[in-house]
């Protein structure tokens, strides 16, 4: 495994060239699956865990034999590397910091990652840039069908795919769309959005998934119900709901630019100024300023900055990425210095 690859490339979802990329950062679809011949991980002892990991790893290697796929075992991996996978959204926080035999299979453009021994035996996820519900679903569906030929899933005619947590049972499918809603936040309209989504049975989380608060005006919205709706039902509901939020955010952006053009310009250029010249900067401040920058790029105020550069900075300025780039462990203060330097170099 060459970790340098991760630093040389960026995932497809970071390219920022997907449809509706002004508001939608990425689309993710994940499927939760368990094997019928093993107990769930809740009660599995280390030996069983290890058997499950070995068994699934074997089937994964059969199903995806090309060199395009690599399997990484997490148990003996240094924390900094696991953290990098998390910052990259290839594994969940729980999977990164967890214990016991577990792993992840990743393809080279990072559009597909399959976690082994997370909360369920298998968590397959596909990720794409912008709003690409169908393509993302197809990616994960194909991988699932390919694996299904080689292993027997825990399935019940009434309850569907059986999962450790009953909130995932049925399709085991969670569709998450990451939205950038700075205008709704600035105009104090987020409560309205959140209330509407809650009423429609959607969950809203921050950038880093479950239990995280929103930073950088980034919100992840996902379906809550997984039983009683087919995969296509879940997707088509999403196809109706997301455009409404996009319309809302865009009209508030328009209003902001129309009513208070100086205020918006000032916010964007101040963010640019700090990012371009700061000598030390925390990750929290970076994310907030990048959010303003992202808004500025899409409002046409910062035409010389490509979207991909902004999206990449969101990921590459996080602690593990910085330490990998530097090739050594850094304490928080050193990181703030390195981060500022990195941004100055990368920001056009």
């Amino acid at each position: 495994m060459k970790w340098d690859d991760f630093l040389q490339r960026s995932g497809e979802w970071l390219k920022g060239n997907g449809p509706d990329g002004d508001v939608v950062v990425s689309t993710r679809v994940r499927l939760a699956r368990n094997l019928s011949r093993f107990p769930f991980l809740t009660v599995a002892n280390p030996e069983t865990r290890s058997q499950i990991e070995q068994y699934v790893r074997g089937r994964l290697q059969e199903a995806f034999p090309t060199r395009d796929f690599q399997y990484l075992s997490l148990m003996r991996m240094p924390m900094i590397d696991r953290q990098l996978l998390f910052e990259r959204h290839l594994v969940s926080r729980e999977h990164a910091v967890g214990e016991g035999e577990r792993g992840v299979a990743i393809n080279s453009d990072e559009t597909l990652s399959i976690m082994v021994n997370e909360e369920d035996h298998l968590r397959l996820q596909a990720m794409r840039s912008g709003l690409q519900l169908d393509l993302t679903w197809e990616g994960v569906d194909q991988a699932d069908t390919e694996l299904e030929k080689r292993l027997s899933y825990a399935f019940h005619p009434r309850f569907g795919y059986l999962t450790a947590c009953p909130t995932n049972v049925g399709t085991g499918m969670r569709v998450s769309v990451m939205l950038h809603l700075p205008a709704a936040v600035i105009s104090k309209q987020m409560d309205k959005v959140l209330q509407t989504l809650a009423r429609l049975n959607y969950t809203v989380r921050g950038l880093n998934g479950e239990g995280t608060s929103p930073v950088g005006d980034l919100f992840q919205i996902s379906n809550q119900a997984t039983l009683g709706k087919s995969e296509q039902d879940i997707l088509s509901e999403m196809r109706k709901v997301v455009p409404e939020v996009l319309k809302f955010e865009r009209s508030w952006r328009h209003k902001l630019l129309h009513d208070e053009p100086r205020k918006v310009e000032d916010k964007v250029w101040r963010a640019y100024g700090i990012l371009k010249h700061a000598r030390t900067i925390s990750s929290e401040e970076t994310i907030e300023l990048l959010s303003a920058l992202r808004l500025g790029v899409h409002l046409g105020l910062l035409s010389h900055v490509p979207m991909a550069a902004v999206n990449e900075l969101f990921v590459f300025t996080q602690p593990s990425h910085l330490q990998k780039i530097e090739g050594k462990a850094l304490d928080p203060e050193q990181r703030d210095v390195v981060r500022a330097e990195f941004i100055r170099k990368r920001l056009p």
Binding site: E148, H156, C165, T167, T171, L194, V204, A225
Partner: protein, 164 residues
């Protein structure tokens, strides 16, 4: 700003309280805010929701609570505490408790989505079997014994395949 309680983390939650006309301000980090029970509308977790739903008292709660899955060994009470099941069999064993829970979370208790191909073929065979048995009765009644023999053979094949 540093959290006023733990003095370690960055304060991200700012609370203003007015008690007897005196204004009090507190600046807390997310963790301390949460442990102080200050509403974080963005950060509720699935298990909190589940935990709350399962608080709903049920008739015969005592019996349900002590139900134990013979395969993985967990009891319904243990499931309630952890909000995670121990094995696939739990869905059958704890069905009575799970059904109202699933109804609340998903507004449904019947899967309608993707089905593994192996299962699909079993379901298909089962429904073919039901259909053939009905057809057999009709052809026997109409004394079409040649056709009846064919159907009987097919039934036998299907039954052997399904019992494997």
């Amino acid at each position: 700003m540093i959290c006023g309680k733990c003095s370690k983390n960055q304060a991200t939650v700012h609370v203003t309280e007015v008690v007897n006309g005196t204004k009090k301000e507190a600046h807390l980090c997310e963790e301390c805010a949460r442990s102080a029970g200050i509403g974080m509308k963005f950060t509720f977790s699935i298990s909190d929701i589940l935990g709350n739903l399962m608080e709903v008292p049920k008739a015969g709660k005592g019996e349900t609570g002590s139900l134990r899955c013979p395969e993985c060994g967990i009891t319904y009470s243990e499931f309630k505490a952890k909000t995670r099941l121990g094995c696939a069999n739990d869905y059958e064993v704890f069905k009575a408790g799970l059904l109202p829970l699933l109804e609340k979370v998903h507004q449904s208790t019947q899967h309608v989505g993707k089905t593994p191909r192996t299962v699909e073929s079993v379901v298909r065979k089962e429904s073919e079997l039901v259909r053939l048995k009905r057809e057999l009765e009709t052809v026997v009644k109409s004394e079409n014994f040649e056709k009846a023999a064919q159907i009987r053979d097919r039934i036998k094949t299907l039954e052997t395949e399904l019992s494997e």
